[in-house]
Symmetry: C2
Subunit: 201 residues, 2 copies
DNA sequence: CCAAAATTGGACCTGCAAGTCCAAAACCCG
DNA sequence: CGGGTTTTGGACTTGCAGGTCCAATTTTGG
């Protein structure tokens, strides 16, 4: 079934997903036609429906998964190693740098706003992404607590939830305003707050 | 020009905007057809294009403005009177209650994600909303500083920016997960942090 | 090297939703 | 009341994007 994929076929499929993802990031989900994807990836309509029998919806789902994975990969290796303050700051810098560079071209926006409504599966992908993201942050907080760098009475999960929300909102506001002020404020204030608490313990 | 509106005409126009807004909140921007609006508001195509000559785009813009205004109105009178801790908490409760009730049906999502790309004017509306929102919060922080309830060394604008981002992200996550956990965490942790700082001053 | 299966190209179909048009009805004001 | 204007209804046009189909070509495995 899924085993019916030649090396060449797999390559084409991947090319379509990556190309479509780029196109969508650039111009938004509902501005991208299948024809655009075809042109941009050098494929034909027959190929699109060969690799994605359910058409656009299935393609969007694949793109969503691809983009979601990418979001977390971009934060490595910091995100998985939030064990010292320098790492936290490096993570902070990476986030800001990444989103500043990317500007208005946000994969998440497309995933959440548009794809989410259509494909029920996309919802699950986003939830999965957020869950992994938040878990990684919470894990970081706990490790810092174990070394005494963060006060033990802090609720790691709740803090991670708030920080994640702040990041998402910061990115969202970046999309509207074009500025990273909000994202920076969230990260700086939250991290400062966590550091300040350490001495209290 | 705009004065060529009979009392009846104005009523019809308003009915269209309100009805379209409800429809969009319920089912998402790109799931709502003009025909749906017509059915839901008891109007004809002729009327739609009579009151919104530029068609769907112009209608969406009007809806966006309407929804944006509504967002802030829903937070009154608390948002304009963040002068005591009880008011802050009441504001917090109102926000959570409102978004919990509204669930996945979020006007902002539609405005930002979909409308934003299409109509350049919608972008401006969202920015305006965020600006007013953030300004109101910052004003609240400053007033609390003037009464000594919040530490004077806190950067009101930056704090407001972070809080606003947190709220937006919290709502965004509510859309994906269906839970208000993130929103609550942001509000509680931020407000607690502000209160804790007071004694330091 | 051959048959079966996967891959590819692109013409064609189809449905739908935005937008156009105009004539009928209601309304306003002197 | 009466002429001009606004309001209303709904049939019709149009373009387009997703999806179908199939025949040609390449690849694979034995």
């Amino acid at each position: 079934m899924t085993r019916a994929l030649t090396r060449k076929g797999a390559a084409t499929r991947a090319r379509i997903v990556v190309g479509a993802a780029a196109e969508i990031r650039e111009r938004g989900v509902d501005e991208v036609r299948l024809e655009d994807v075809m042109a941009h990836t050098g494929t034909s309509k027959g190929q699109l429906f060969h690799y994605f029998p359910d058409g656009k919806e299935e393609l969007l789902l694949a793109v969503a998964q691809h983009e979601a994975d990418q979001v977390l990969l971009d934060q490595e290796p910091m995100l998985s190693n939030l064990t010292t303050w320098p790492t936290w700051l490096a993570w902070r810098d990476r986030l800001i740098e990444r989103y500043r560079a990317q500007g208005v071209k946000c994969p998440l926006n497309g995933l959440l706003g548009q794809t989410g409504r259509r494909a029920p599966g996309a919802q699950a992908i986003v939830v999965g992404l957020m869950w992994r993201w938040q878990t990684a942050i919470a894990e970081g907080v706990r490790r810092m607590q174990s070394t005494g760098d963060i006060a033990p009475d802090i609720d790691a999960d709740r803090t991670a939830a708030a920080l994640l929300a702040g990041i998402q909102g910061g990115v969202l506001l970046l999309l509207s305003t074009g500025r990273t002020d909000h994202l920076e404020a969230v990260l700086d204030l939250t991290i400062d707050s966590l550091r300040a608490g350490a001495r209290t313990a």
